[in-house]
Structure formats: structure tokens, C-alpha cells
């Protein structure tokens, strides 16, 4: 188990390496550069800036320079925000982005799993239809639409919550709901399907026939077994939360790191873009390992070697 874990974590390194090379090449093949402004800079100035930042060198030299700095933890200067390094930009915003993601994740689990269980227990009766309707709304509404609707109803019309910024708990409500909508629906759907599958198992019939109370059958035998496959979708949901935070942070003007992700491409802020890519790739690859290990931990039938 330990050696499996170590191998999986070490495997993240070549993944990050490959992702960084592909992104680096793609990024530099995009026309334009970080010095493009509405008012064109004189050629000489541009050339001097390129020389100063090493952008005049062949691309493989640039990559080696970047990678050398990266492994030492130095993410480089931002081309756009010239008074700040990428390290300070990431350090300033990462806490907010992680907080938003974690809150949305907790909300999705706390709402999605009970919703799925209730739907399965009341299969084809009103609880099922109610819960399924909630899932349908969650699946049919992209997070940016949900965000706009929440802003209009709860922000502008009812004035219950502020619609932009991140200054206190009342600011957290709408973005968290907007981000959690789709994961809630996915988790509820998976939990429901998994519960219905478990209901037909022999061990449930055994538990019932030996006279266990319904409650004990549901809690001890059905729910615990039904949640095992649900763990497998936590990986994709995590990736969704990270990507979703880019859009949600932009719509709600949240000072996290996600919104830089989209703007950094437009401004050709190479170092910021690379930092964001590595952050994303590490987070997704790492969470995959966590989910796999968690899966083996809660299901004793699975053993990695």
C-alpha cells in the first residue's frame, strides 16, 4: 500500500513535466506577446524588454530557464502586473479560491448524498420525483446561468446577498451555491442509482430476513455500501470545481487566483499562465491519487499492489 502510494505520488512529476512542455510550446505559438498594448511600444523598447526577460532566446532555452526557476519554487515575474511576482499573486489569491472550492464541495456532499438517499428510499414516489427534479435543474443549468439567475433574484431583486466581492460570510453564499449546483445534481444522481442497485443485493435480503429493523438495514447495510461507488465521481467533480471557479470568480469579482487563468491568456502573461497551469494540473493529479486511495480504504475488497 505504502509503495503504491509513493509510486502514484512520484508519477505526478512526469505528468506535470509533460503538461508544462505542451503548455509552454502552445503558449509561445500564440501570436502576439506580453507587450501588446492599445498603444504600440516602440520597437527598441520591445526588444530591450524581451532581452531583459529572456524572451529573445530560443524557446528551449526559455523552457529550461523557466523549469530551473520553477523547481526552486520561483514562479517568475508577472508580465502584466509588473510590481508583483507570480509568487505573490498566487499567494494572495489561492486561499480564497481553495475556500470557495471547499465550501462548494461540502455543500454538494451535504445536499447531494441525502437527496440521492431520499430519492432511492422513496423510489417512484413523491420524494423521488422531488429529488430528481432538483437534480434535473442542477444538470440543466450551467454554472454561469445559475450565477446570473442567483445575482438577479437574490442580489438585485430581493437584496439578500451582495453580488460582488469577498469581504465576509454574506459574500460567500451566492458564489458557493452557483458553483455547487452541478456537483449536487451529479452526486444525487449517483447516490440514487447506487442505492437502487444495492437494494437488490442478497445481503440486504439477508439482513431483512434475520429481522433487522428497517433503519438499521438502511444505515448499516445500504447507505454504507451504496456510497462506495459515489467516491469515484469525486475526482471529476473536483476538476469541475477548479475549472468552474474560473468562471464563478470572474462573474462575482472574487479576488482568487481562478480569474487570472482566463485573463493571463489574453494578456500573454506567460509566467502567470504557466503557474496557473501547473497549479491546476497538480491539484487534479493529486486529487486523483487521493480518491483512489480513499476508494481502497473504504472498500476492503480493493487492494492495490
Amino acid at each position: 500500500m505504502i509503495s503504491y502510494l509513493v509510486r502514484r505520488i512520484l508519477w505526478i512529476i512526469p505528468v506535470l513535466f509533460t503538461v508544462s512542455i505542451i503548455t509552454f510550446i502552445l503558449m509561445h505559438s500564440v501570436p502576439g506577446g506580453p507587450w501588446d498594448r492599445d498603444k504600440r511600444l516602440p520597437e527598441g523598447v520591445q526588444a530591450r524588454l524581451n532581452a531583459q526577460y529572456g524572451l529573445d532566446q530560443p524557446i528551449y532555452v526559455q523552457y529550461v530557464n523557466w523549469a530551473g526557476q520553477f523547481v526552486q519554487g520561483n514562479l517568475g515575474p508577472s508580465y502584466r502586473y509588473q510590481d508583483r511576482t507570480v509568487n505573490t499573486i498566487v499567494a494572495d489569491g489561492i486561499g480564497t479560491t481553495v475556500q470557495l472550492g471547499v465550501m462548494a464541495f461540502i455543500l454538494a456532499v451535504l445536499v447531494g448524498i441525502p437527496l440521492g438517499i431520499i430519492a432511492a428510499l422513496g423510489h417512484n414516489r413523491s420524494p423521488d420525483y422531488l429529488s430528481t427534479s432538483v437534480s434535473i435543474v442542477g444538470i440543466a443549468t450551467p454554472s454561469f446561468v445559475l450565477a446570473i439567475l442567483l445575482i438577479v433574484f437574490f442580489g438585485v431583486e430581493l437584496r439578500w446577498f451582495p453580488t460582488s466581492g469577498w469581504k465576509g460570510p454574506q459574500y460567500w453564499v451566492l458564489p458557493t451555491i452557483a458553483l455547487a449546483g452541478f456537483p449536487i445534481a451529479q452526486i444525487a444522481r449517483y447516490t440514487r442509482a447506487s442505492m437502487l442497485e444495492v437494494t437488490r443485493k442478497d445481503y440486504i435480503r439477508t439482513a431483512q430476513s434475520k429481522g433487522l429493523r428497517d433503519r438499521a438495514v438502511v444505515v448499516r447495510h445500504m447507505v454504507r455500501n451504496a456510497l462506495i461507488p459515489v467516491v469515484t465521481i469525486l475526482g471529476p467533480i473536483f476538476a469541475f470545481l477548479v475549472t468552474g471557479s474560473f468562471i464563478i470568480e470572474t462573474i462575482f469579482a472574487i479576488p482568487g487566483v481562478g480569474r487570472y487563468y482566463i485573463t493571463a491568456i489574453g494578456t500573454r502573461d506567460y509566467s502567470l499562465l504557466m503557474a496557473m497551469t501547473m497549479l491546476y494540473a497538480f491539484a487534479v493529479a493529486f486529487m486523483n491519487v487521493v480518491v483512489d486511495v480513499l476508494y481502497a480504504y473504504i472498500d476492503p475488497r480493493i487492494r492495490y499492489s
Binding site: V15, I148, A285
Partner: protein, 314 residues
């Protein structure tokens, strides 16, 4: 084991010959009301996409400025004469623009899935069939693609190739479709590999061999139907993801170029007017919702209908 008992049950308890996988599946699908609703929505979307320009009351880029002037320079509200769903601030008929958007969504649905199939099936099949080092190498490659930030990749690709003929094809959409496909084949590849690995070892394949069924019949009657259905389901359920990805990209301004507009860019345009003219956001949002619901229900229904393990139960 559920699988082996099902085989035995079928042998012993089933008096009449099964009508075949596809008609059995259709029979089960027909009884599933949600799946039929999904199928109807999908057919509606396909019709709108194919016949869009013919049935649209206006051309999607024609501006009915008179109607906008008559309305005090504001977007025409829905249910007005000549504009059933109203117009945007430039006087362009919303229904006609939605129909053009349907055409974009239908194209997304198919082009992306074709890209996914052409990459995912061979890679998954090679890995599953040959196993060993090739399997290892291919699966590690899917790890890289999986960890790759797809949004970034799609945006970079579409900015990098915007000026080329490839980037201009289908009003800039072709590139977006290919980019979405290039980042989403991993699921299908893993599925195909898993199917082949699992099916090679199953008792029913072994049993079929033991009673002398020819290899060809094993492939056509056992491997293909069992392996194909999860792939069909994955493809159907992959369509809403692709439509969602395209509309999200369009919302942040990547992909289709004006004056054409996908549903995502219609919502982005309408966001400014959402307080006074909510129809500019709501109608495209409903269009997206119906498309997503349609393919999701159909995919779920297909999964239930094609899953032979559920046969005779429920």
C-alpha cells in the same frame, strides 16, 4: 455471482428466444417515460438544427431596427408581432438566433463525439487487447491528458490557430470542437480498455467457448453487444458535456465569431439587459437546459435499456 446466474436463468427459465439485443433494448426504452421525453427533445433539437435556416422567421443577423425604434430603442419584448421571442438590442430576432444556436449545438454534439471515438476507441482497444507495456504507456498518457487543464488548452488552441484556414472553418467553431474532443477522449479510452479486459475473462465467454461457439459468434453475440452498450451510453452522455463546454467557452468569448452566436454567447450578450429584458437570458438558458436534459435522459434511458444485467428484473 449475478452474471452467471443470469446466464443460467436465461437458459432454464426463458421459454422463448430473445428477440435480439436491439429490439429488446428498444422495448425497454419505450417503456421509460423519461427516456422517451429525452428522445423527443433530442429529435426536436436535431430538427431545429437541420431545418433552422428554413423555418427561422428572420435571418439570424438581420437587424429589424424599426421594431427597436418603435420600442424606444430597447430590445423588443417576447410575443410581439413579427418577433415571437422578441429581439436583442440590435433588433435581431431572438427565435432565429436561437435556431442558429441549435445548429451550432447539434454540430458540437456530433463533431466532438466523432473526434472522441476516433481517438478514444483505438487507444483503449490497443491497451485492453495487448496489455503489458503498451497498456501501461497508453494509460499513463491518458493520465497526462486527464490532468491537463482542458479550458486552457481549448482557449490556447483557438487563439493560436485563429488566423489559419483550420481556425476559420465553420465560423471558428471547428477548432473549438476539435479542441474539446482532444481533451475529452480519455473517458471513452478507459471505458473501452476496461470493457475488453473484463470481457476477455468473463464466465459467459468461457462458457461459450466451452460449448463450442465459434470465435466469430463469441465476438458478434457476446463481446460486441456487451462492450458496445457502455460506449454508446458514454457517447450519448458525452454530448451534454460537449454542449456545456461549448456554451461555457462562448460565454467567456471563445469560439464562434460574431455575428453568429451560440447559446452561450447569447447569454453573455443578454447579461447586460437581464433586469429589464430577462428574455434575452432566459430563452437561451431554457434552450441549453432542454438540450442538456434531452441527451442526459436519453443516455440514462439507453443505459437502463442496454444493460442486460437488469433483464427480467424491475
Amino acid at each position: 455471482m449475478a452474471t452467471s446466474s443470469t446466464v443460467l436463468e436465461r437458459r432454464v427459465a426463458k421459454p422463448k428466444q430473445s428477440a435480439g439485443l436491439w429490439s429488446d433494448a428498444w422495448g425497454r426504452l419505450r417503456k421509460n417515460r423519461l427516456a422517451i421525453l429525452g428522445l423527443v427533445l433530442v429529435i426536436l433539437l436535431l430538427t431545429a438544427g437541420l431545418l433552422g435556416p428554413i423555418i427561422a422567421p428572420w435571418n439570424y443577423q438581420v437587424q429589424d431596427l424599426q421594431a427597436v425604434f418603435a420600442n424606444g430603442n430597447r430590445p423588443v419584448p417576447p410575443f410581439s408581432p413579427g418577433h415571437l421571442l422578441g429581439t436583442d438590442s440590435l433588433g435581431r430576432d431572438l427565435l432565429s438566433r436561437l435556431l442558429d444556436g441549435a445548429r451550432i449545438s447539434v454540430t458540437v454534439a456530433f463533431v466532438v463525439q466523432i473526434v472522441i471515438l476516433t481517438i478514444g476507441v483505438p487507444i483503449g482497444a490497443l491497451a485492453g487487447w495487448f496489455g503489458g507495456n503498451l497498456d501501461n504507456a497508453l494509460m499513463r498518457f491518458t493520465d497526462v491528458i486527464y490532468a491537463f487543464p482542458d479550458l486552457l488548452f481549448i482557449i490556447l488552441l483557438s487563439v493560436a490557430f485563429r488566423e489559419t484556414a483550420f481556425g476559420q472553418a465553420l465560423d471558428g467553431l471547428f477548432l473549438v470542437f476539435v479542441a474539446i474532443g482532444l481533451t475529452s477522449w480519455v473517458t471513452v479510452a478507459r471505458l473501452v480498455r476496461g470493457q475488453l479486459l473484463a470481457l476477455k475473462e468473463t464466465e459467459f465467454v468461457e462458457a461459450a467457448r466451452a460449448i463450442g461457439v465459434s470465435d466469430r459468434r463469441i465476438v458478434t453475440r457476446h463481446l460486441l453487444p456487451n462492450g458496445l452498450s457502455p460506449i454508446i451510453v458514454a457517447i450519448t452522455l458525452g454530448i451534454p458535456s460537449a454542449i456545456l463546454a461549448e456554451s461555457t467557452l462562448a460565454f467567456i468569448g471563445v469560439g464562434v465569431q460574431p455575428p453568429r452566436a451560440s447559446w452561450g454567447s447569447l447569454i453573455a450578450d443578454g447579461e447586460k439587459y437581464v433586469r429589464g429584458d430577462p428574455h434575452l437570458v432566459l430563452f437561451p438558458a431554457v434552450a441549453i437546459a432542454l438540450a442538456l436534459i434531452g441527451f442526459t435522459f436519453l443516455g440514462d434511458g439507453l443505459r437502463d435499456a442496454l444493460d442486460p444485467k437488469l433483464k427480467g428484473k424491475q
